[in-house]
C-alpha cells in the first residue's frame, strides 16, 4: 500500500483512547461503560476494458461508546476517534441515558465471563502492494477473462486490500484488541447472443494474500460463469427438487442463524421461537462454529460483549441444540450468553458429503440454482419466495441455463427436506458449506 499504516502504533493509540473514554465516563457519572474503536485503511483499484478506471484510498476510523446509569443506557458514536471527539461522544451518551427508560436486562456481561484466553489467531497479513502492482493484478485477471471466446465486454475487475485494528473495552477492566487484514480480487464480464446480454462474476477473498486464487484463474472462471448463462430459458412451473450452489446454501444457513439470534427470539420475530431441542434438520446434519480457528475469516477470542468465544454447536444430529445469544438477549430470554454478541464466527457443517454428480443424479429432474434475487425471506413465518437463475436438470444432467423464475417454500420445510450436501465446500467466507439439495419447492416460471 502507498500510505503507511503502522498497525502496532494504531493499536496502542486506540487502546489509549478506549481507556480515556472509560475513565471519562466514570468521572462524569456512568456506573458502567463499554467502548468499541476501530481504524481501517485500504486501497481499491478497478480496471475496465484494459484501462484503470478508479483508484481509491480509504482510511476509516470510529469510536462508539455505551454508558449505563443504573439500568438506563445511552449510546453515541463518531467517525473521528480524536481526543476532543471522544469527550463529545461520552457526554452525548450520558445525556441520552438521562432520557431512556429503565431496562432490567441492560448492562455489561458478567465480569467472570470476560475473555482471559486471548491468543493471536493469525488474521493480520498486510500486503505491501503498490498501486501499480495492484493495477497489474486486476488487469491480468480481467484480460484472462476478456480473452475467452464469446465474451463481449468487461464490467471491470477490482482488487482491494485492507487492514485494520479494532478494540473493545469495558469498565470490568476488560480490553481486547485485534489486528486483521482482508484482500480480494473480483471480475465481472458480459456475454451476448441473439437473446440479449448476460453477466456474471467470480472472486477470491482471503486474510492472507498468499491464499488468494491466481488472478487469471479468477478471470477465466468469471468468463466461464458468464458464458454458461447464454441461451437461458424459463423453466416450467411446478413442484420439484432444488439444488442450491454453495454460496446460496450458506445464505440458507444465514437465515437459520437470523432466526435463532436472541434479538429475533425475544421480539417473537422468528419462526423458530420455542424450538430448542426439537428436530429441525435430518439427523445426519450438524452445524457449529469455530471462533478460535487460526487464520479464518471471522476468528476472534472475544465477542462484542468481551465474552470469551467458544465452539458452539447450534444444530446437533438434526436438533436445534442452542440459540445464538449475547449477554443482553440472554437476559431477556432468561438464558445465558453463548458468546455470540456480534454473531456467529466461522460456521462449519458436519454431514456426509456427496459429489455434485451424485447430487444431480439423486435430483433427477429439477433446477440447480446459482443466483438468487431480492429479499423475499420472511423471518417471522419462515416463508421463502425469491427470484432465481440457474440450470435445468433432467435425468441427473444439466440441460440448459434457466432464468426469470422464482423458487418458493418455507424455511422450516426446506430444512427438513434437506436430502444431501455437496463436497464442493466454498471456503471464501465465514460460513463453509457445499451445495444443498432440497427435496421439493415450488418453481414458478413460464
Amino acid at each position: 500500500m502507498t500510505q503507511a499504516f503502522d498497525a502496532a502504533a494504531q493499536q496502542t493509540l486506540l487502546e489509549s483512547r478506549a481507556r480515556t473514554a472509560l475513565d471519562l465516563a466514570r468521572r462524569l457519572g456512568a456506573d458502567a461503560c463499554e467502548v468499541g474503536a476501530s481504524v481501517d485503511q485500504g486501497v481499491g483499484v478497478s480496471v475496465r476494458e484494459g484501462e484503470v478506471e478508479t483508484v481509491e484510498l480509504s482510511r476509516d476510523q470510529g469510536i462508539a461508546v455505551t454508558v449505563y446509569v443504573g439500568q438506563r443506557k445511552g449510546s453515541a458514536s463518531s467517525s473521528d476517534a480524536g481526543e476532543a471527539s471522544v469527550r463529545a461522544v461520552v457526554e452525548k451518551a450520558l445525556a441520552i441515558a438521562r432520557h431512556t427508560g429503565e431496562d432490567p436486562a441492560s448492562g455489561l456481561a458478567e465480569a467472570r465471563r470476560m475473555a482471559s484466553e486471548l491468543p493471536d489467531l493469525d488474521v493480520h497479513h498486510p500486503w505491501p502492494l503498490s498501486i501499480d502492482a495492484a493495477t497489474d493484478l486486476a488487469l491480468r485477471c480481467e484480460s484472462a477473462g476478456r480473452g475467452m471466446a464469446g465474451i463481449k465486454s468487461s464490467d471491470g475487475a477490482s482488487l482491494s486490500s485492507g487492514e485494520g485494528v479494532r478494540v473493545y473495552a469495558n469498565s470490568h477492566g476488560f480490553l481486547g484488541s485485534q489486528r486483521g487484514s482482508r484482500h480480494s480480487l473480483s471480475c465481472m464480464l458480459i456475454a451476448e447472443d441473439e437473446n440479449g446480454m448476460q453477466r456474471d462474476y467470480d472472486y477470491t477473498s482471503a486474510r492472507d494474500p498468499r491464499d488468494l486464487a491466481a488472478a487469471d484463474a479468477v478471470g477465466e472462471s468469471a468468463a466461464h460463469r458468464t458464458l454458461r448463462r447464454l441461451g437461458a430459458r424459463r423453466p416450467v412451473t411446478g413442484r420439484m427438487p432444488v439444488l442450491f450452489d454453495p454460496t446460496l446454501a450458506s445464505g440458507l444457513i444465514g437465515h437459520l442463524m437470523g432466526a435463532i439470534a436472541g434479538g429475533a427470539l425475544y421480539r417473537q420475530a422468528s419462526f423458530l421461537c420455542d424450538r430448542l431441542d426439537t428436530p429441525l434438520f435430518p439427523e445426519w446434519f450438524s452445524l457449529g462454529e469455530r471462533p478460535m480457528e487460526v487464520g479464518a475469516m471471522a476468528s476472534s477470542p472475544f465477542d462484542g460483549d468481551g465474552v470469551q468465544t467458544r465452539d458452539n454447536v447450534f444444530v446437533r444430529d438434526g436438533r436445534l441444540a442452542s440459540y445464538m445469544l449475547s449477554a443482553y438477549s440472554a437476559r431477556r430470554l432468561g438464558l445465558e450468553t453463548t458468546g455470540n454478541a456480534g454473531g456467529a464466527r466461522n460456521l462449519r457443517i458436519t454431514a456426509p458429503l456427496e459429489s455434485r454428480e451424485a447430487l444431480l443424479a439423486r435430483m433427477g429432474r429439477g433446477v440447480l440454482v446459482t443466483e438468487l434475487m431480492g429479499q423475499g425471506v420472511n423471518g417471522v413465518t419462515g416463508d421463502y419466495s425469491r427470484g432465481a437463475a440457474g440450470f435445468w436438470v433432467e435425468d441427473g444432467e444439466i440441460q440448459h441455463p434457466v432464468e426469470e423464475f422464482t423458487i418458493a417454500g418455507n424455511l422450516e420445510t426446506m430444512f427438513q427436506g434437506l436430502v444431501g450436501v455437496g463436497d464442493d465446500i466454498d471456503t471464501r467466507g465465514s460460513i463453509h458449506t457445499g451445495s444443498w439439495l432440497v427435496d421439493e419447492m415450488m418453481v414458478a416460471g413460464g
Binding site: T2, E51, V55, S77, S79, D103, M197, Q268, M373
Partner: protein, 484 residues
Amino acid sequence: MTSQTHAMLDEASAVLLTPGGLDLAALDDGLGHAMGPGIDYADLYFQRSWHEGWVLEDGEVKEASYNIDGGVGVRALAGEKTGFAYSNQITVDALAETGRTAAGIVRRGERRAAAPGVAMASQARYAGVDPLTGLSAEDKIAMLKLADRVARAADPSVAQVSASLTGVHEVVLVRASDGTLAADIRPLVRFNVSVIAVRNGRRERGSAGGGGRYAMVRLRDENVAERYAKEAVRQALVNLEAVAAPAGQMPVVLGPGWPGILLHEAVGHGLEGDFNRKGSSAFAGRIGQRVASRGVTVVDDATLDDRRGSLSVDDEGTPGQSTTLIEDGILTGYMQDKLNARLMGMAPTGNARRESFAHLPMPRMTNTYMRAGNDDPADILKSVRRGIYAVSFGGGQVDITSGKFVFSASEAYLIEDGKITAPVKGATLIGNGPEAMGRVSMIGHDMELDTGIGVCGKEGQGVPVGVGQPTLKLDELTVGGTQS
C-alpha cells in the same frame, strides 16, 4: 446569486470549514493540489452529519443513539480515470494530502488551473433546518409511546410493538474545478412502527412508516405515530388471514404509491448513465425507441418539495431537476452525473449522489414515479379474471444487464372474477424490465407518492429515494407463490 444561496454557503462554511481554520478562499489552494498534471477535473466534497435514533420496545424507550460523521472527499478525473481519497479531518494539511493522493492517478500531462468558484443559484426544495431540534427528548419519547399504546389498543392479537424515530441533519459543500461552488443543508426524518400479531399459534408482522426532508416536529403535527401504528396493525391482521399465494404467470394489479418500486427496479437502474455509457444496461443505445406501453410516462424528479429523495443540489453541486425518462412509452433520457454526461456528450441531470464524503458519486435516482393515466382503479380490478393485487412491498433488485428484476410483496390479495377475494402470503414477483413495461395495459388516475421510506443500494452505497405510481395493471408477470 440569491441571498438564500449566499446564506446557505455562509452557514455551510461556518460548520464545515471554520473549525479547521479554512474558508471558502482557501479551497482554491485545496483544489490546486488535486489538479495535478494530466487531471482535467477535480472536486472537493465537505460533509458533516448528525444522526439521532430513538427506539421503543416493550412499551419503553430503552435505547437511543447519536452519531457524528464528517470529513472531506477529494476526487480527481482524467478522461475515464478517477482518483479518490478522503479524510475525516477538514484542515489545510488534509486537503493537501488527499488532493495529491487523488491526483496520483496520472503522473504526466498538462497542468490545468481550476476556474474561480462561482456560487450558482439553485432553488431550495426543502427548508435548511436542523430537524433534530424543535422537539425535546420527552416529546420524542412521548410520540413513540403513543404509537405503542395505539397499536396495542387496536387489537388483542398484537403481541409486540417496536417503533423508531430517526433524524439526520446534514450539511454539505461542493467546490469543483469547473467553478462550481454550492452548499446544501439536508434534513431527513422518519418514523416507523412494526408489530407482531399472534393468533391461534400463527405469527405475522405488519409495518408502516414514513418521513421526508423536514423537521421532526412535523411528524408530530401530522400525528404519524397514531396513523402508522394503526396501519402496521391492519397489515399484520391481514397477513394473519393470508392463504398461500399462487405460482406462475398471471395478471398483476399494483396499488398506487410504494409499489412504484416496480419502476425503480424495472426501468430506473437501467437508465442510470454509468451503465449506459459502459453498454452494460439492457436499455443501452435505446433512446428514441419504444420501451413501454403507450401512456407510460416515467420521471425522475428531485424538485418535489420536502420529499425523501429530493435534492436542492446534487452531490456535485448541480441543481436538482426533473428528468423525463420515458414519455408515452418512448425512452427519452438517462440520469447523469458529470463524469458520465461528459463521456456521453450529454448534460448532467442533477443525479450525482454519494452515501457520504467517503464514497464516490454515481448517477442515482431521486424520486422516480409514473404519471397518472385515465383509468378508474375499480375498473382495473374488474378487468382481471384471476390474478394478484399487490399493495405493499418489501424490497426489490435488478440485474441491469439481463433486465431481470424482482420485487417482493408484503401485502397482496387474490383477484377472482374482478373482485378482491382473499389476502395471500408475501411472494416475489419476477419479470424482465423492458418486457414488463410493454405489458402495462391500464393506468389509474390515482397517482400517489410513497410515504418516504425508500433506501436504494448500488455498489454498496445507500441513499434515500422516493417512488410513486398510480394503480397499474400488467397483463402478465410471474408470481412466486407456493400454490399451483
